[in-house]
Amino acid sequence: MDMKKYIGKRLFWAIISLFGLSLFIFYFGRIIPGDPIEMMVGPRTPDHVIENLRQSLALDRPLYIQYFIWLRNVFQGDLGFSIVTKRSVTTDVKTYLPRTLELITYAAAFQIVGSFLLGIFAGSNINKWQDHVIRIFSYIGVSIPAFVFAIIFQLTFAYQLGWFPVTGALTSGFAHPPEVTGFLGIDALLAGQFKTFINFVHHATLPAIALAIPGTAQVARMIRSGMITIKQKEYISMAKGFGLPERTIRFKYLLRPSIIPGVTVLGMQIAMMLGNAFLVEMVFRWPGFSRHAINAMLHSDLNTIVATVMIIGIMFAIINLVVDTIVAYIDPRIRYGGRS
């Protein structure tokens, strides 16, 4: 029950923050760049057309009313019109977002498995060669931006070695599977097109690893240093003093408190991938939402930009909520709201 209350509180504040964010981004978008109508229409549009458009889009009303109209539309699934693709932003989202989600899920899987294995392995072998190798890897991983990894991987594993395709999500010969969920991987499996699925995964592997590495390195470092910190705690030496076997201490009493900072950061890092996906998708010409959004940004497509911020904000909030739940599950002190 305490858990529900805790999560409920988190959810409440996440929603408040998202409203705050929508207010900020809406006002910022309406005030800063100049007249949205002029940006929408060509320079030689007759005045009466502009006036009509202004009225039909409610742009002649006070800003706060415009905000509520916009908000009402958003709740009805209408994110406005994109001046780049000349269609509804909602349609664009439906087209491109699944590709990005698939890529990020794939990368998150790499990240979770990789960071825990490396972190625990390094933390269990402090100052031995395994630890040093992992530490060097993690310094490199943290210091090289994801888009640089993307370029280096593309250059070596795609161009030079030819192990992976250079760009795209499917080789041109492959037909898209019939759309059921919108997720290419799942649809391919549903349609029994196993080869398409493999081809898709093959295309996604390099971008996913490039996306995953910086976070993997960061989380592995956190878990390693968490293990070092907890090892010095009195309760670990007491557990030893009571004669518990090394195994039980390491994998039970030491591990659980050690991974808490790592798990918290893991959520942050998965969320960071939402940002890095913008660049990695660009390098690999991945047909995802982020690459589409970059295009919109370069053309000052206001509705798409606002939609992007809100969608990513919502995904970010969901990831944080999941992480908070996991951390509260691991650490009862958070559930019971008491610390000592």
């Binding site: 408040i16 010095q232 940002g275 913008f278 930009i305 992007t308």
Partner: protein, 320 residues
Amino acid sequence: MADEDNEDKKIHEEGEEVEEKVEEIVEEREESPWKDALKRRWYRFSSNPLSLVGLAITIITIFLAIFGEYIVPYPSHGGLYHNYDAKFIQPFTNWKYPLGTDSMGRDVLTRTILGFRYSIRMAVVVLSLVVPSGVVVGLVAGYHKGTWIDTLLMRISDIFIAVPPLVLALSITAMLEPEPFYAMMAVSLMWWPWYARITYNNVSSISNEEFVRSAEIMGDSKIHIMFSEILPNCTGPILTKMTLDAGWVIIIGASLSFVGLGAQPPTPDLGTMVSGGSDYLPHHWQVSIFPAMAISFIILGFNLLGDGIQDAFEESGGGS
């Protein structure tokens, strides 16, 4: 009367002497723990050779950022210079252009070194805007923990943390203008809350401590307590975060340039160069890979240095 005066004077003088001595002793005592703390910090910092590597890299980086234009072989290659006869020279084949040339025949080494300045400028501008403002917000909110001031300030800062920094920076820059100035403003706008957070957390744990309470009882002003009593105790975490953030800000800056929302060609900005060069992959890899390595080099330096600073400020008790 005169005697009494003399007596008074004598006592007074003696008193002053004693006071002076006491002051000397106090000074000695105050100075030595300070020096000792510094020594201890340096020991903790330097006991990890990687921290020293980080310090060295950072010094080199800052040196190149300041003096780069005076030591590069071809200062004019930073701009629109072109020499199509010398374009796409492969690296390590021509001693005149050790790292090769780009599509306009410009020296990659020169442009990479010149790029350090833009990255460092980004970090310096953003941090000098973001750290003071974030710290002040965090101090004020943390000191007024539990009041409406706390709630208001921290909830506002939450809004900017509600989206990954890169996404918000991209979006805001896109709404403004794709220029380095706006990029810096956009990054700053979404970065201060992190300093508000970290200061807030430290302040709210410190402000219940004895010395803060006693300062309150002695009637010190709030401003004095916040800045002279509480703030110095947050230095460690803030300094660590600043160093690590210098790396992060440079990544974000490079990312903005990379997608075309930061510095525009022909500026020798590292992110812009990586992006421009990626069109010539795989054959003319030098154009984007060397600037990419430079970015990583700078960030590596700040990461190693930041970890060292964190070690230096970590309080770990020895057993007895």
